[in-house]
Assembly symmetry: C2
Homo-oligomer: 273 residues x 2
Amino acid sequence: MADLARLSINQATTREQHSLAQAIAAYAGAGVTGISIWRDKLADCGLGEAAAMLKDHGLRVSGLCRAGQFPASDAAERQARLDDNRLAVDQAVALGAECLIVVAGGLPEGSRDLPGARAMIRDGLGAVMDHARAAQMPVAIEPLHPMYAADRCAINTMSQALDLCDELGPGLGVAVDVYHVWWDPDLQAQIERAGDRVLAYHVCDWLVPTTDLLLDRGMMGDGVIDIPQISEWVDGTGYNGLIEVEIFSAENWWKRPADEVIRTCRERMLSSV
Amino acid sequence: MADLARLSINQATTREQHSLAQAIAAYAGAGVTGISIWRDKLADCGLGEAAAMLKDHGLRVSGLCRAGQFPASDAAERQARLDDNRLAVDQAVALGAECLIVVAGGLPEGSRDLPGARAMIRDGLGAVMDHARAAQMPVAIEPLHPMYAADRCAINTMSQALDLCDELGPGLGVAVDVYHVWWDPDLQAQIERAGDRVLAYHVCDWLVPTTDLLLDRGMMGDGVIDIPQISEWVDGTGYNGLIEVEIFSAENWWKRPADEVIRTCRERMLSSV
């Protein structure tokens, strides 16, 4: 049974209901310990205002979403993305985020060269790590489910993410999101391999049936993932940080009152994580 | 460039347009070399009638779809599935199929025990292999994309499928379907590992965006999979059997005239496989 004091809510979970300012106030008001912040919402709020509100409400920031998106068709665009990644590092520092989440990016427009995209990811990540290390901001590679390999993220297993950590050195780690990795027959071994490089732990559930590739995630307990088993493996690495609920749910949770969503996250944290 | 003489069409590609008898006549009439047959369509046609028509039209059968579905909640249901698998072996023999395709099955109703489901798959497959070997019917495990792990197939990588082949011995091999495995960073190595255990090779394409988890597969060339690269790896094992087009496409190809679908399969076999 997970400790309620470790609950963080990714603001995407109430993205249709809340601005960032509203999410900060609502989560803190409900006794939630942490929040994970999206950069589009941050831009609407303003970095200074967000940092001040977080401090006032005593909310921890389990992660900033998101940097990455390294592959692109031409050098100018790849450079623009490196610049944006460095900006994301600075924003994460300003917010006191516990890590910066990297979603690596998929195939460049018109490309079928998956190994090439993966090489661009390695090179791009390598190029921003000096800045991240200097800023002492941990960078968490989040492997995304293989169904996103083309258009969102060509890093699709824990094994791939950890190979990048091995190659690119300190300051890098992984975000373990049960939605993306639950199916992997090698999951337990790779979580053990990660050890103290687990920088974030995200929970939600896989619904049967799943009606949309992106926006039909379930609340913990409503699907088929054995979340307590994965939590045990993650805790076994020594990870004792925040446990972040991240649910994209266009037809269900995004349509419910925010207070119901937050209350359910708290309940399910106790019953199903 | 693939050899047109190696073209087989999985009848699911025209499942909304054709009965089995119609598919056999249409494919053979268009000069297609092979067909892959689904058991629901076979039941409508009748086994004897289908076998006679295949012989009359000189069509090869690249595979029978499908056996498998081993995991179930209780012993009686698991036994019923073993019986059905043995029946499928006999049907494949009667049709002269070059292999029997196994889609292993997902989680039993209400279960979250993925390792348990995988153990049921191993045990079930082991229990039917004596019969398959006696009948000299090659059995091809088809790893399905991880997005089907819950409800269709808990064997989700070539590596898992080949581990089963290693464990369960001769007569077993794999069906390589680009749709399911294209994202796998270990794909080239696992195809090499498969060697002469590649029993079938299936092609279609991954569309961006993909609008449905099951029924939005693309025609070769319309998506992002580097199919010629995978074909080269498969051919590199010595595989020189049929290349089977299998497209589930509720909103596109299933709505087009069958002759257009077959003509496009032939064209794309030359340009994009």
